[in-house]
Amino acid sequence: MRRTLYTLLLLLIASLAHTTVALAATTATKEAEYHAVVKLIESHYRVKHRGIPFVANLGVKTAKVVSKSARRVLRFGDFKLAIFEDQDFSGRDASTDIRTRLRQTLEPGWHPLVAVRLEDEGQTFTYTKADGDKFKVLIVVIGQRDATVLQVNLNPEEFAKLLMNPEQQSRELTNEATSVEQ
């Protein structure tokens, strides 16, 4: 009897530990995908990404995380934003385009909602992923001299707006995040 109870207790502890590790791993994976995309932009266009301490020291804005107070005015919750400013995005690895490399990095875990390349407006790539009752959206906007990588959580209502007009809403979300950041 005691042995069975002991086994049951062990099983419970093991399942709790498994859940904790799985949750931690999931969080790490979500972070990893965002960081992987930032790294990809760096390597593909040979632009340099710097951490926040370097930004503060050198006065070069390359990546920032927005404060909690700023987030309150936005229509989306927690988000991550990397900004590459005044750098050259015309050069690229000729062997493969950025769209293909993004697909290799994010699929099949993320769904490719829209990819747009326009001569005047640059490139926009939007990937989505269901996350409980919310939706994770990863938006990459690449212009001639600037680029942004934005990851946001949207509620179903805001997500529906994105689905109805994917390209325009992707740009609006990015503009919203960058304007608050400034």
Partner: protein, 206 residues
């Protein structure tokens, strides 16, 4: 007592294992529809094109859009989006814009045309129109089974642009043009009210 507890423990473990298997299966499950075309055969086009639009709205995403939702079309008319997309299972768009004519040929369309020759698909209409002094050919195909529409395919062939739209699911043909400008579908000009339609030559081919 010990035996009983052991049995419960076994049942519990089995249930956990079964749940895990079901969860994995459900995640991997992806419904397949005959009207869904494979549009990604021509990746070289995407590489060559200076402009590209690539939209993928599958059934899971379309389900999220509220059924009672309206929007305004490019021409300013109110569009009851919920009513139009109610029966849709997917919207897929590929549009390639080129700097010069002749960047794409019929060979690039061979893969899609082969799929459109498969049972169930039939060409609904051929529209030839002028847009900015350039000839535009729009081909609309429809897949039907047991009297209902399973999907639609639109090929818009312009000298410097190729657009392929695949709408999977039951759609009201009269409202097809109202989807232009929505869900990333470009303004191709299928609707009767759009510019250049006066020069249209629509021919029905069975």
């Amino acid at each position: 007592m010990n035996k009983k507890l052991n049995s419960w423990l076994k049942i519990f473990s089995l249930a956990v294992a079964l749940l895990a298997v079901c969860a994995t299966g459900a995640r991997a499950q992806q419904p397949q529809y005959a009207a869904k075309l494979q549009l990604d055969n021509e990746e070289s086009l995407a590489q060559r094109a200076n402009e590209l639009i690539d939209v993928n709205l599958d059934e899971n995403l379309l389900r999220i859009i509220p059924k009672k939702i309206t929007t305004t079309s490019g021409t300013g008319e109110k569009v009851d989006v919920g009513a139009i997309i109610g029966g849709l299972k997917g919207v897929y768009v590929r549009s390639y814009g080129f700097n010069a004519e002749g960047e794409y040929t019929e060979a690039n369309l061979a893969g899609v045309r082969t799929q459109l020759r498969s049972p169930g698909w039939s060409r609904l209409v051929n529209i030839i129109k002028k847009k900015a002094d350039e000839n535009v050919r729009i081909e609309v195909y429809m897949m039907t089974s047991t009297g209902s529409i399973d999907g639609i395919a639109i090929l818009a062939l312009e000298p410097k642009r190729l657009t392929m739209v695949n709408i999977v699911g039951n759609i009201n043909l009269e409202k097809l043009s109202q989807l232009e400008g929505q869900f990333g579908i470009p303004e191709i000009g299928i609707g009767s009210g759009s510019d250049g339609d006066k020069d249209n030559k629509a021919t029905k081919k069975p």
